[in-house]
Amino acid sequence: MNRRTLLAGAALALAMGGTAFAGSHGPTKACFVYVGPIGDGGWTYQHHQGALAVKEEFGDKVEIAWQESVPEGADSERVLTQFALSGCNIIFTTSFGYMDPTNTVAAKFPDVKFEHATGYKREHPNVSTYDARFYEGRAVIGTIAGHMTKTNKIGYIASFPIPEVIQGINSYYHHAKKVNPDVELVVTWVSTWFDPAKEADAARAMIDQGVDVITAHTDSTAPLAEAAKENGAVVGFGQASDMAAFKPSPRVASIIDNWAPYYVKRVGQVMDGTYEQVASWAGMPEGEVVIGEITEAVPPEVKAEAEAMIAAMTAGEYHPFTGPINKQDGTPWLAEGEVADDGTLAGMNFYIEGISGSVPQ
């Protein structure tokens, strides 16, 4: 932050004068910035469900506004400013790429609360960050995958090599390996978050090569649909949303991003004045990561094991990254009983031992 933009911010704050906060006596206004269309059926859809839950919870006491398909970069900065000017009290920015714009705009509007999803920069007191421990969900489906595979080849359709995806890959593999030492993991990078045809092609390529359990870290149901063509021989998992249309098989379980508890909590805190800056990384205990119904396609004992794991994680008794775990090259990472610290996890950029291939650069 240099002097010039600070001045600019001050001028902007002065210029808007009374207009922006005129509404502070009325309902609290919560605003949401989405990176994709609400109709993506995955990431953005789930954030919007959280927004609707806020409205549901507080009724007339809140007003919600949102904007979909906002490109990261200059456009998001404008949208954020627009929201702040129009009287939003709290603004949720729901994509990693909004990190710098969120902090820039937050500097100009010290009285507006900003909540940035999946980022790490909190340069101003009115910026909080929040994320979900999706790797807890990956641990559960990894366990199911290890049991369900008959070919001992399980697949992971990956988007981009960012820490969240690497955590997911490691957690998935680690838990599959635990219950099935012969398991082999196939990772396919599609280099996109959303391209249904390419996701389907990736699933097809893996199925053709003998993979029979597939999880995806991309947003569409295409991999499940591709698995469905194998008449039960291949199973997969819902990602981000429940993807219930593919029950009971191939969708045997799902990882649901449930932002509603966090959104309701934070908006509530703004309303009753108890709001404070946080860096939230919540998971199953808080209900932010939810495993959708495990269907009857999964044998009862496997289902019981998975549910026990969910219970243990929800109770805070089990951490998916508990040693002994070595890094891919064999060097020790976590000693027996040692639990991974959040700092390492948040910046995870290495595979654990047993995964073949390398993290693309």
């Binding site: 932050m1 904007q67 979909e68 490109p71 970069g73 900065e77 404008r78 981009f160 820490p163």
Partner: protein
């Protein structure tokens, strides 16, 4: 019987009046669309066209018109030269990306040196050069092998997008970014940042460059031999050859100029409004600029106005989403309508509508 008769000269009156007519028609058709979606059409139209210029927060939006319009104008000016001569560069998006990468790479290479007088001009050069070289690929293939430039320039967009992703994940990744993709923020690096020149005006170096490009293009087309050759080639390639135009040279010039301008636009964007190289850095300016070039009738001043009009529909459209809850898709459809009407009424400036009996048509 309605019949069209070609005017010997485009009508001055209709050239000026048709855009107004088109905007009015769009308001009617768009109003109907918004009414179908259950929104008050008058409020929606006012939010899109009126509020950004004269509404409560216009002091902010007016500056944003320049921020959003500048890259469109800069790129469209370059494209219009080629389009006039029948040289079709559809891949400005790719040249924009490469320009941004080169510009940012030069800036980041000097980090954290403080020598703005050296670094920023070098970045400008690198941006223009990057776009220029990327455009030289279709230009050279066209002149050497007679390969279609529409296809090659378009395909290179996808190649550029992948290079962008690999740069954001690899060489240009912020070493202090805990493993997340994306470069350092150039706006926070004084020597390499493309700052607002006057606080809150929205005017940055890219805006200045766009205005200069408009003037230069005007002079080139009206006062210079090369401009004459471009226009002649577009109107009659055969006549142009007799007049001594070297078609290959023209291809290289037109593609090179449009590539360099697109590269410049990318560089100014990455160092200013966007701030950093990220996987989704490009947001379609290169494609939208093609429409802007045609809306502006390939005339420099027309392009200036068309760029600002496009920017207005983006910014007003965002406002309509945020305040009225209109889906982003409705705004997209609305923009499409505006373009259709603008293109359709253009017929009035080049043709006279005759109603009555016809001779053998």
């Amino acid at each position: 019987m309605i019949r069209l008769e070609k005017r010997p000269q485009p009508s001055q009156f209709w050239t000026a009046f048709t855009p107004v007519l088109a905007v009015m028609l769009t308001m009617v058709a768009g109003g109907i669309l918004f009414a179908i979606l259950g929104k008050d059409p008058f409020v929606a139209i006012k939010t899109i066209f009126w509020d950004p210029i004269l509404g409560d927060f216009a002091f902010y939006y007016r500056s944003q018109l320049l921020v959003k319009g500048a890259p469109l104008i800069l790129i469209a000016i370059g494209l219009s030269l080629g389009f006039r001569a029948g040289i079709w560069n559809i891949g400005a998006e790719g040249q924009y990306i490469i320009g941004a990468i080169c510009g940012a790479a030069v800036g980041l290479a000097f980090y954290p040196m403080e020598a703005r007088w050296l670094i920023f001009p070098l970045m400008i050069l690198a941006g223009a050069l990057g776009g220029f070289l990327w455009a030289m690929i279709p230009a050279i293939l066209k002149t050497r092998f007679n390969t279609n430039e529409i296809l090659v320039s378009l395909l290179l967009v996808y190649v550029a997008e992948q290079i962008l992703a690999s740069m954001a994940l690899g060489p240009l990744r912020n070493p202090e970014g805990s493993g997340f993709p994306g470069s350092r923020n150039l706006r926070q690096y004084e020597a390499a940042s493309n700052q607002e020149l006057i606080a809150n005006s929205g005017v940055h170096w890219g805006v200045i460059a766009a205005f200069i490009a408009v003037i230069l293009a005007y002079v080139l087309l009206n006062r210079h031999m090369l401009g004459f050759q471009i226009r002649l080639t577009g109107q009659s390639p055969r006549a142009a050859r007799f007049a001594g135009v070297r078609p290959n040279l023209l291809v290289v010039f037109c593609l090179g100029a449009s590539g360099a301008l697109a590269g410049l636009a990318g560089m100014f964007e990455v160092a200013g409004p966007a701030g950093q190289i990220s996987i989704d850095f490009n947001v379609g300016y290169g494609f939208t600029a093609i429409i802007v070039a045609f809306l502006g009738r390939l005339h420099p001043v027309g392009i200036l106005l068309a760029g600002l009009l496009m920017a207005l529909t983006y910014i007003g459209g965002e406002a309509a989403q945020a305040t009225l809850g209109l889906p982003a898709a409705a705004i997209q459809a609305f923009q499409g309508m505006l373009l259709f009407f603008l293109l359709a009424v253009d017929v009035l400036s080049n043709y006279r509508v005759r109603i009555g009996t016809t001779e053998a048509a």
